[in-house]
């Protein structure tokens, strides 16, 4: 079955790629509505079919078999090229994460393609009287190809290649209306901003390549672990970087590597400070916004962080968390003041992406990916809804001019509302029947991220006592145990310095002392665990193992604190909570302004209409949101977690109360510290608060909001938010003007230094050429050539004679000469008559045999 599944995944790349070429080559011939259908069927329909087969098969496959399949796919990679000892392989990454994301991408993209057929048909997309409808679907197909390739890449190199292809598609699609004045700059902005992130990504890749020696994800993770244990390579005492001559002390470089890799994600997922491109990317057609800038491409950044999670150090992870936290808060604030419906959604996307990145940063690996999936569904739906609105309102995007569209487009209105509910995390907090809780999308996924963040911020102290020394017996963690006091001032370096102490031979008594210490502590931990009667899963487990002295690996016994993972600063948790209150507010605002209330622009309202074809994807995605919230994805991602997040230096925390996966640290579910029950009171009803405030402000239209805008403290805040914290201006000052200055200097050097040298050289060459041409060429070379040609002429005249053109004469001559040659050979060596021999051979011979 293994080759079958991974082959199906690989095969899913073929149809979009072929479709891309078909549309590129014959697009104009295929025509306007048909190109869309070709794009739909070839670009996403067939991959969706294959993906569904894989998804369903995977869903019904047992865990052991899944692991076997994963390793089989890993082992059946093909050598692509070899550079010395460095081998580049390609193949298919087949694990739960890939399968789930692959299916998610296929499914959402399929419905967005479907939506596009209708949406793009209604757009005047002619440039110079030629429709570029087909071109849109060609780009979409190429995007599908790249995105699916990104998802199934087993190696960072291929991931990077597809990563760049995705970026290219984004560029092409944002600049789809290249005949307008706003789209090309937006496209360039997106492209350049992404390149900034990719620069960091390349540096990260370089460090991976140089020190870990492979770009394969599994291989890199294994090398990371080995080098950490052995204290070599990346974790040597001082690491000097070749070429540059810099040297770093140990862990620093590993942290830089993690940050570098994360830079790529920052660019693609539009994290602060590279977030500026995403709102401008709304210049592209709305399906593109839905497809790329909400559901799939931007999610690639989160996917990347999930994939390189095993290469992160605690500091790098904290960096991730900080970036995520900043993004999620500040972008949500901007969304409050946006009046353009798509930009409002764009900032909400930024904020939600921030949530995911923040989740990765706090270690909520599963939860962040789960949020990615649920968010993909409802955000695609929201964007498609906004596309429907924009299409219906004849390209009016300003929410202030809408209102009261409910009666005109009911399906859009209510699916949009489902999206609002989902993103706001609507549910019944604290209530459950058995394991079944009631809520939509964000209620589950966001809650899980917040729970982990809470645990990280408030319950992290539980690792300070109890299990750490016991845990030190396990895996790569033993390096960190006994020298903690020596490294106490810099906890983040504890693992590193400890490892060096271990690496250097120490006295036997000291080792013995360590051992005894560990045993004693283990016993204590055990006593704590039982005595307190709390279900300290991690500590208790670790204690038992430590006590037994057995090296049975149980990753939940990992001690994150010992590795240098600090508790989360409380302000970051606070920020996330505040955002959870802001999100329902601005989403409800957007929905209310668009669909409810009284029509504010009668002209717009009068012409608003709903397209039947475009409502189908909305309905499907609404159902998909519901399904994805409850079923299919969460268990699959949780299955992927133990292996994919099995990092040596950082830990992944499992946010689900009832599902402690093997290598993830479980949340502290003791009654007094249960994050979920805490969150019920802190943030459980945030959606109600947000909705209520929004309704109070906007129930009568824009009047109250206008008044609020002009009151004292809010007016300054409003200006600040409206200018997006002046980021564009800042970048304009820093980079654009800076670049211009550098360019001026370069121009000066070009004119006065380089040109001077060139002109001198050219005059010398000119003189030399004149001499060569007049003397050497005319007399020496030409004479030789003419002599040859005259000789050839004479020869040809002689050879022309036998060329009669009579084909039969040629044959005659050939055969005649051949016969003569054979005859000559025959007559020379043999005296005996040939016929005698022939007769003898045939049995007529008189000699007898």
């Amino acid at each position: 079955m293994e080759p079958f599944l991974s082959k199906l995944l690989a095969a899913s790349l073929i149809p979009p790629f072929l479709t891309f070429w078909i549309l590129v080559l014959w697009g104009p011939k295929i025509g306007k509505p048909r190109a869309g259908w070709v794009g739909l069927i070839g670009g996403m329909g067939l991959p969706l079919l294959l993906s569904t087969i894989v998804f369903v098969t995977w869903f019904f496959t047992g865990p052991e078999q899944r692991d076997a399949l994963t390793s089989a796919a890993q082992n059946s990679q093909v050598l692509w090229s070899q550079l010395g000892d460095f081998k580049v392989t390609f193949g298919v990454k087949l694990d739960s994460l890939t399968v789930a994301i692959h299916f998610m991408v296929c499914f959402i993209a399929f419905w967005i393609f479907f939506f596009s057929i209708g949406y793009m048909a209604g757009h005047s997309d002619c440039v110079h009287h030629q429709s570029k409808y087909w071109r849109f679907f060609a780009y979409l197909a190429l995007f599908g190809f790249s995105m699916l390739g990104l998802v199934i890449s087993p190696s960072l190199l291929f991931l990077f290649i597809f990563w760049e292809l995705v970026g290219l598609c984004s560029y092409l699609l944002i600049g789809f209306y290249f005949d307008t004045d706003y789209a090309p700059p937006a496209a360039m902005k997106a492209f350049i901003t992404n390149r900034v992130g990719d620069f960091g990504f390349i540096i990260g890749l370089g460090i991976v390549f140089t020190f870990l020696g492979t770009l394969d994800l599994e291989g890199a993770a294994a090398a990371f672990k080995t080098q950490l244990a052995a204290g070599t390579g990346l974790f040597a005492k001082t690491v000097s970087v070749p070429i540059l001559g810099w040297s770093f002390s140990g862990m620093t470089l590993a942290t830089l590597m993690g940050i570098g890799l994360f830079c790529g994600a920052m660019g693609k997922s539009a994290q602060f400070p590279l977030h500026v491109w995403l709102p401008d990317a709304m210049a592209g057609p709305t399906p593109v916004s839905a497809l790329i800038h909400a559901a799939t491409m931007v999610a690639a950044g989160v996917y990347l962080v999930a994939r390189v999670f095993r290469l992160l150090t605690p500091d790098a992870q904290m960096f991730v968390a900080v970036i995520g936290c900043i993004t999620l808060t500040f972008m949500a604030l901007i969304a409050i003041v946006q009046t353009d419906i798509k930009k409002c959604l764009a900032y909400s996307t930024l904020s939600q992406l921030g949530y995911m990145i923040f989740g990765m940063g706090v270690g909520a690996w599963t939860a962040a990916l789960f949020h990615l999936v649920t968010h993909a569904f409802f955000k695609a739906m929201l964007f498609l809804g906004s596309g429907q609105v924009i299409e219906g309102c004849h390209h009016v995007q300003d929410m202030r001019r809408m209102g009261g569209l409910k009666s005109k487009m009911p399906v859009t209105c209510w699916t949009f509302f489902i999206g609002v509910l989902a993103i706001a995390g609507t549910g019944i907090p604290g209530f459950h029947i058995g394991d079944l809780r009631f809520g939509l999308g964000g209620f589950f996924s966001k809650d899980e991220i917040l729970a982990v963040a809470y645990d990280r911020a408030f319950n992290w102290g539980r690792f300070e006592s109890g299990g750490e020394h016991a845990a030190a017996q396990n895996g790569g963690w033993q390096i960190a145990n006994s020298e903690r006091e020596e490294a106490s001032e810099s906890v983040s370096l504890a693992a590193f310095s400890a490892q060096h102490k271990t690496a250097q031979p120490k006295g036997a008594p000291e080792l013995a002392e360590q051992d005894a210490h560990a045993k004693q502590e283990g016993r204590t931990g055990e006593a704590n665990g039982h005595g307190a009667g709390t279900a300290q899963e991690a500590g208790g487990h670790g204690a038992e193992e430590g006590h037994g002295g057995a090296a049975a690996h149980h990753a939940s016994a990992k001690d994150p604190v010992a590795a240098g993972m600090k508790a989360l600063p409380k302000w970051m948790f606070l920020f996330a909570i505040i955002t959870a209150y802001i999100t329902p507010f601005y989403m409800f605002r957007a929905w209310w302004l668009t669909f409810m209330g009284k029509p504010r622009d009668p002209h717009v309202h009068e012409h608003a209409h709903e397209s039947k074809m475009m409502t189908l994807p909305l309905a499907v995605l609404a159902v998909g949101t519901l399904v994805a919230s409850y079923a299919l994805f969460r268990p699959m991602l949780a299955h992927a977690a133990p292996v994919a997040a099995d990092a040596p230096l950082v830990v992944a925390v499992d946010g689900e109360a009832h599902d402690p996966a093997a290598s993830l640290i479980a949340l502290d579910h003791s009654a007094d510290r249960n994050p979920h029950s805490k969150l019920v009171t802190i943030v459980g009803f945030s959606f109600l608060v947000g909705f209520a405030v929004a309704w109070l402000v906007y129930r009568k239209g824009l009047g109250i909001a206008e008044r609020l805008k002009n009151t004292f403290p809010l007016n300054y805040l409003h200006t600040l938010l409206e200018h997006k914290y002046y980021f564009d201006e800042l970048y304009g000052f820093l980079w654009v003007r800076g670049c211009r200055g550098v360019a001026a200097v370069c121009g000066f050097i070009d004119t006065w230094v380089i040109d001077l040298v060139y002109n001198l050289l050219s005059s010398v060459t000119e003189r030399l050429a004149a001499f060569t041409g007049r003397v050497l060429d005319a007399q020496g070379v030409d004479g030789f050539v003419n002599g040859i040609s005259e000789t050839a002429d004479d020869l040809a005249e002689a050879l022309r004679r036998p060329q009669t053109g009579g084909i039969r004469k040629y044959v005659l001559w050939t055969v005649g000469i051949g016969t003569a040659v054979i005859a000559a050979f025959l007559l020379a060596p043999y005296g005996e008559s040939a016929w005698t021999v022939v007769a003898e051979r045939l049995g007529f011979g008189t000699h007898g045999g």
């Binding site: 039969r808 005659l812 055969v815 005649g816 051949g818 016969t819 054979i822 005859a823 025959l826 043999y830 040939a834 016929w835 005698t836 021999v837 022939v838 051979r841």
Partner: protein, 215 residues
């Protein structure tokens, strides 16, 4: 009238029936394998070399091949030449059967007889103004050609007579089609592909050459 016609024709009818029967019977190429059981395991050919039956078949069809080749030489009408060629090719394909190259024999029949020959006749029909146009060669031409060809034949015979081919190796009996296919797609893959490309080029080229000029 009717009765006399009957009497005259009856004998000829029976003769014709016998002729058809003998044609059908004699030309049964698979009779080369007649010395074994009728149920043949695939991949195994029961041609026993050295039997009288093989010899008889060889002399009959070898003779037919030679006779047909000579017929090609002496015919003047191109269609008759093609007909003689047909008999020559058929006889050679039966020689292939005798040589245990069953697949080659069938392919020879399909490609040569079914394809090439029809193509030739086609060419004749498309390129002759009248059905009976004949271009006779000069006597000198004939004489020189006969001289050289007979000389060539003598030389070839002498070469054959003077060469010791050594004892035959008894390994290559039978034509497992599967074996040919495998060898063609492994060891001979590159020539096979090149032949495929060539055929495509030929198709395009022939279509280009034979197309109607557009005025």
């Amino acid at each position: 009238m009717l009765d006399s016609g009957c009497r005259v024709l009856k004998g000829r009818v029976i003769l014709r029936l016998l002729l058809i029967a003998s044609l059908g019977f004699v030309a049964l190429p698979a009779l080369a394998q007649a010395q074994a059981a009728p149920r043949v395991e695939p991949g195994v050919v029961y041609a026993t070399p050295g039997g009288w039956f093989e010899a008889a078949m060889f002399y009959v069809f070898g003779g037919l091949a030679i006779a047909s080749a000579l017929g090609v030489c002496v015919s003047r009408s191109v269609v008759r030449m093609a007909t003689w060629l047909f008999f020559a090719l058929g006889a050679v394909s039966i020689l292939y059967f005798l040589l245990a190259a069953t697949f080659l024999a069938a392919i020879q029949l399909i490609v040569y007889v079914g394809g090439v020959l029809i193509l030739l006749i086609f060419g004749v029909m498309l390129t002759s103004q009248s059905a009976w146009v004949r271009f006779t060669p000069t006597r000198t031409n004939l004489a020189v050609a006969s001289l050289i060809c007979v000389g060539l034949l003598i030389c070839l015979m002498s070469v054959l007579a003077g060469t010791d081919f050594g004892p035959p190796s008894a390994t290559s009996i039978g034509t497992p089609v599967e074996a040919i296919g495998r060898r063609l797609l492994t060891h001979y893959l590159v020539p096979f592909e090149i032949a495929g490309v060539l055929l495509m080029i030929v198709m395009v080229g022939a279509a280009h050459l034979a197309r109607q000029e557009k005025n």
